[in-house]
């Protein structure tokens, strides 16, 4: 069996950044396993601009952003396999993968970086009633068909869900000559960026109906129409508000789910809120030497943050391989409450953390003129005002090792949203 210091599962933005930083941290034996026929992951089909403002201080399209990282990985001579599906990872880091030329094979890794990304929620998971005709696509599948294969999913489109992929596809379909009739969003706010609402919907006169959902799907063979209804505060359709739309296409942009079948298979502890692994300050999962980053860890809003996080995972995996990720110290849990839904990481070891540690989280509702507060035990040590926080965007706090070390009795760190 071949052995590698680090095996990275997934050659998208997370895997690429992790590989590059691990290599720069002095690890030469790295293998990236990518299931698609090229590196870059989902960015290859995200042909719109808006990527990289943080990382490169310029606005790139998805393929350009991916291209920069792919170039680095190639320049660094990092080994990768395309068209290769990882089938299983054992708890002791034997990775079983398969492709056409090598067949099914196993490699032993000293460290594993999970970078499998996420998948879209399907219609089935929403339990939308009605028929099951052709013409219902997740927004990402439609994006692949349009941008990669050059086919139109349909001509008269309704979009459910105002996540960014849905908004981007509203514009993309319009530019390709389709009529996008409406975007419906179950929540009273959009999960997408303001900029996308303005530039993808308002620019083209596409209405956004908040607090609306699809309550019926018509058409026995190809989609013929859908019914929208307004929903109450609990998300239940309000009788009498139904509106019929004729359409041949329904795109769903209703959420992303970290793709953690492999992580579960290897016995990694999972976080029920993020659907990603529970990680510590090193982005290390419950299995020592197994790290996670990018959308497999928690769904990100911007790819820049994926790259940054994956870079850290790569550095830490390198440290692990070199035996520099020390043992000992005490794990302090991070508790997300009162509006904060989760934190990544979920526990930290002050002895092992860097001087500064970025903790990312999301809020559960729209908050205006509220505060992000951080408590060490019961003492509030951070209180930062934000004019607006929305579930669609990630928030962050930065913990300082120096300050934490001044609390020897630290039992927990709590992150909450407070109105004053």
């Amino acid at each position: 069996m071949k052995t590698y210091d680090i095996v990275i599962v997934g050659g998208g933005p997370a895997g690429l950044a992790a590989a590059a930083s691990a290599k720069k941290a002095g690890i030469d034996s790295i293998l990236i396993l990518e299931r698609d026929k090229e590196l870059g992951g989902i960015l290859n089909q995200c042909i719109h601009n808006g990527f990289g403002l943080h990382t490169f201080k310029e606005e790139l399209t998805g393929p350009e952003y991916a291209g920069r990282f792919i170039d680095v990985v190639k320049e660094l001579g990092i080994e990768y396999l395309l068209n290769t599906m990882v089938m299983d990872i054992s708890g002791d880091k034997i990775v079983t993968a398969m492709n056409r030329t090598d067949g099914m094979f196993q490699v032993q890794a000293k460290a594993v970086i999970l970078a499998m990304g996420c998948r879209e929620r399907s219609r089935g998971a929403l339990n939308i009633p009605g028929y099951r005709p052709a013409g219902i696509f997740s927004a990402g599948t439609a994006q692949r068909l349009v941008n990669m294969e050059g086919y139109m999913p349909g001509r008269e489109v309704v979009i459910l869900g105002s996540g960014d992929i849905g908004l981007i596809m509203a514009r993309r379909m319009t530019l390709e000559g389709a009529k996008v009739k409406v975007v419906a969003e179950l929540m009273p706010y959009s999960g997408g960026l303001k900029r996308n609402i303005v530039q993808c919907l308002n620019d083209y006169g596409i209405p956004l109906k908040l607090s609306h959902t699809v309550v019926d799907i018509r058409g026995k063979e190809r989609l013929e129409g859908i019914t929208l209804a307004q929903v109450d505060e609990k998300g239940k359709p309000i009788p009498g508000t139904e509106e019929d739309y004729t359409c041949d296409t329904l795109l769903l942009s209703v959420g992303l789910i970290p793709e953690n079948e492999l992580s579960r298979g290897m016995g990694v502890e999972m976080d029920s809120v993020t659907s990603g692994p529970v990680v510590n300050e090193s982005l290390e999962t419950s299995i020592p030497g197994v790290f996670a980053c990018g959308n497999v860890l928690h769904v990100h809003d911007l790819v820049d943050y994926v790259s940054e996080e994956a870079g850290r995972a790569g550095v830490n995996a390198a440290k692990f391989v070199k035996g520099e990720l020390s043992e000992g110290g005490k794990d302090i849990p991070l508790i997300a409450t009162s509006g904060a839904r989760y934190t990544v990481p979920r526990h930290i070891n002050v002895d092992k953390m860097d001087d500064l540690l970025t903790v990312r989280f999301r809020v559960g509702a729209v908050f205006k003129d509220s505060y992000i507060s951080v408590y060490y035990n019961d003492e509030r040590i951070m209180h930062r005002k934000k004019q607006v926080m929305a579930p669609g965007e990630m928030e962050e706090i930065i913990l300082q090792k120096e300050k934490l070390a001044a609390y020897p009795d630290l039992q927990s760190i709590t992150v909450k949203i407070e109105s004053e």
């Binding site: 398969m98 099914m104 190809r222």
Partner: protein, 481 residues
């Protein structure tokens, strides 16, 4: 002229075709859809009932018990997945306990083997996730679960291998009696045949009534289902039925043969025989009813919901046999639950009637077995690598959720009566049946269909007819609406 024309390519029609193909006969199956298993057979509980439910002495009881008995050998002969996971009828109320006894006695009279009444403790020991209210259960070890798609497809492929012709996308519009034969009018021309078998599911009344003055009525009885992710597929290990009470029939909760969990069905009589739409009321109803037998049903793990139509005959009995005022016309009508379980027995029964009617001799070269699509997951790593060396397509995963390789999809497309659509591939290989519901694999499967069947992408359908997936190329605005 055919000797026998079977109308309907569901499990009943295909079972009859397969049994009939033992004989020297010129037979065909006429199916209005693009594939077999497109109606009732594709959307049901996928249960092989033990046979305690049907009324004592009924044809249903007889066929069910016999079909159940035959299923195991058939699954080996025709290589489709079947497992006797055992059924439990659970009683939630002390006052209803005598109902279990009644059911037990009926089952014994129907000839169901190994039935046993379990105490509350025994029941909970077998199924810890049952509701705390459970008082006892009837246990039928012979109850089973099957893949209805592969059962039907296996029967059809084997019938085809033994010479039965299949005419797809062909809808029967009328049947006329001629001199000693029938003329079946279809949208693809007229078919002449000495005998007709009516296995038309929810349309079996319409087909029957084309030739007989003794009219029958089949009502489409819709059943809504939810299918849950494999991660909760072991929530129960037996098929759990609630004991019917004065409050209603309840819904079953069962593992499927492929490791998902199925919940359903509702029972709603409808007018539209194509009305396979789920409704919010139906889904809400079944979720609340399932909650009565199992506790904390993990309903957030639903990966899809669907509805199927049972061909409910007014008298709630199978109508099987030659029609009195139409010689040579045989009904296999009103085949609702336990129709799937009964199919092997119905096949033998109807084929036997046709043999006697037409005085058919057995074939000497009847092929009794059929090989299903190879599942590489059943192989060792070495065997798998050997396969990939010979056929590299087995090294490419197309459906990540169900780990389906390109090799399996190629097999599904190129075998006799092969897949022509995404659903055709899905029913044969499970590609697209997993938790992402084809979001990942459908463009890839489309590319394979395009390449292998030399179709344009625009011609590729979800399930035949007007169910095209894409409507054209990009860069073409102005060319159409």
């Amino acid at each position: 002229m055919y000797d026998v024309c079977i109308i309907g390519g569901g499990v009943t029609g295909c079972a009859i075709a397969r049994e009939l193909s033992r004989y020297q006969v010129n037979a065909c199956v006429i199916e209005k859809c693009e594939d077999v298993c497109c109606g009732t057979s594709k959307a049901n509980s996928a249960i092989v009932h033990a046979g305690f439910d049907a009324a004592e002495g009924s044809l249903m009881a007889k066929m069910n018990v016999e079909g159940n008995r035959l299923m195991e050998q058939l699954s080996k002969d025709l290589d489709f997945p079947f497992r006797r996971n055992g059924s439990l009828v659970v009683c939630m109320n002390k006052e209803d306990l005598p109902g279990l006894q009644t059911l037990y006695e009926r089952g014994v009279k129907n000839g169901v083997p190994e039935l046993r009444i379990l105490s509350r403790e025994e029941t909970l020991a077998m199924e810890p996730n049952l509701s705390d209210e459970v008082q006892g259960a009837l246990y039928a070890p012979t109850g089973g679960i099957v893949c209805p798609f592969n059962l039907t497809i296996a029967l059809a492929e084997n019938a085809n291998a033994n010479g039965v012709e299949f005419r797809f996308d062909t809808e029967v519009t009328g049947i006329e009696k001629a001199d000693g034969y029938y003329e079946i009018k279809t949208d693809k021309g007229t078919v002449e045949t000495r005998c007709v078998v009516n296995a038309a599911g929810v349309y079996s009344d319409a087909i029957h009534n084309m030739v007989s003055e003794n009219k029958i009525k089949i009502t489409a009885r819709r059943g809504d289902y939810c299918l849950l992710d494999r991660s909760v597929g072991d929530y129960v290990s037996h098929t759990v039925f609630p004991l019917p009470t004065k409050l209603g029939k309840g819904v079953l909760v069962s593992p499927t043969i492929h490791g998902n969990l199925i919940v359903g069905p509702t029972a709603i009589d409808i007018e539209d025989k194509e009305g396979t739409n789920t409704t919010k009321a139906g889904l809400d109803d079944l979720i609340s009813k399932a909650g009565m037998t199992v506790k904390n049903l993990p309903i957030r793990q639903v990966i899809t919901s669907f509805a199927g139509l049972r061909a409910h005959e007014d008298g709630h009995e199978f109508i099987i046999g030659e029609v009195a005022d139409a010689e040579g016309f045989f009904d296999a009508a009103g085949i609702e639950s336990p129709g799937l379980s009964s199919a092997p027995a119905i096949g033998i029964a109807v084929a036997g009637m046709l043999r006697d009617k037409l005085d058919l001799a057995e074939k000497e070269d009847f092929i009794a077995t059929r090989k299903g699509i190879l599942n590489p997951a059943d192989l060792s790593i070495d065997e798998r690598n050997e396969l990939i060396r010979k056929q590299p397509a087995y090294g490419t995963i197309i459906c990540r959720c169900e780990s389906v390789t390109e090799g399996e999809i190629l097999d599904a497309i190129h075998r006799p009566l092969g897949a022509k659509s995404l659903d055709g591939v899905k029913r044969r290989t499970r590609a697209g049946m997993g938790r992402c519901q084809a979001g990942f694999c459908s463009p890839r499967t489309m590319e394979i269909l395009e390449r292998e069947l030399h179709m344009g992408m625009e011609e590729i359908t979800k399930s035949g007819g007007a169910s095209a997936i894409v409507t054209g190329r990009t860069k073409s605005q102005g060319q159409e609406g």
